[in-house]
Symmetry: C2
Subunit: 204 residues, 2 copies
Amino acid sequence: MTKPGNGDAQKVSDGQLFELLRYSHIFASVIREILEIKLLNEVTPNSLTLSQFHLLKLISLNGKHQVGQVADFLGVSPPAATKNIDKLEGLGLVYRRQSKGDRRATLLSSSAKGRRLVEKYETLKAERLTPVINAFSTDELDQLARWLERFSLALLHAEESGEGLCFRCSAYFEEQCPVTHLHEGCPYQKVRGSHVTTTGEKEA
Amino acid sequence: MTKPGNGDAQKVSDGQLFELLRYSHIFASVIREILEIKLLNEVTPNSLTLSQFHLLKLISLNGKHQVGQVADFLGVSPPAATKNIDKLEGLGLVYRRQSKGDRRATLLSSSAKGRRLVEKYETLKAERLTPVINAFSTDELDQLARWLERFSLALLHAEESGEGLCFRCSAYFEEQCPVTHLHEGCPYQKVRGSHVTTTGEKEA
DNA sequence: GTAGAATATTTAACGGAGTTAATTACTAAC
DNA sequence: GTTAGTAATTAACTCCGTTAAATATTCTAC
């Protein structure tokens, strides 16, 4: 792994490459395990999965999605989405209702309880980031965010077999998704406009 | 979430905070899904889990670990480690042998096949990183790695309830683990010295 | 030196989340 | 109006994790 002469353009040394591999992995693991899974378990006694939470968040942002859409969004099969929705519905976090236009379709909307949960999670997540923010200057934070974006895009574009590629923003979406041209029909796109405010649908 | 007045020190704007949350999540997801899971599935027709691969990697780096140690390392229960080892052993990637000193203990070592797999994965991973490397200057890559480290450390230190905290380097380890004082007895530490070369144990 | 506590691993029983295939209900095409 | 297609669900299964119990070995202490 840290052998000499790995064949590639020798732009970076083996040591640099190792550091990059090491810290990108560690960063990814720490974000996922500490900032996401651990926090989620603290916020929900009923311990939701990350998938289930992302589902809840998407539904909170737009109360007009149907099951198939959110399945695509999560990157899972429709039956898996159904089961996740069952669980969220059982907890009173989301509701199902039949679509008027197409009576096969089920529309999903969040309850006030569901939206409160999303908001609580996001607030706490931002709080936990405070020590991180304090470890950087404002300019550094800006630069870091841009580099993370550049890194992710470079990786994703290289991979573009055109398949089910997605930026995996998990509802941290922006007006203009940078990978839309790779993956048409992203549910995030359908949610555009409601942006980041916790504007749910009607209450039940 | 992007509400005004989130209470915290107003060092960063809500927009900045959102960008940071968005891109740290996206980066973490892309690393995990594209650079790790997807790549692993391409390399192994028998589709190993990330856990199983990390286990194999650890064993490849040091052929003297016992089951309980690698269970700690993976952050799973001993029975889970046993089953993962069963699978790797069934594929001829690792071997079990009884410890001479303590006949309760099982020592684990990798086969040449196992080490080849690890090496192949790491080589391909480095290759996939080429477009990323080309998207940055050498100095930027250095800076990025250091920032990822600083970010991860800040997050981990803030969290330090002293529990099972770990840097989650998954065997991308360095001589001096920055969180050792938080988590004594890390299996990575026991592996120190063999560093990153693919130096396994005896062959069977 | 042997009884009893502690430790290392495995087995057994089970749960949760994912999969594919089949079913049900509805819509759309011709 | 029959037929093909689509949305969602149910059924049957797999995989990876869990805790509790079983087994084998070592350590402690009288």
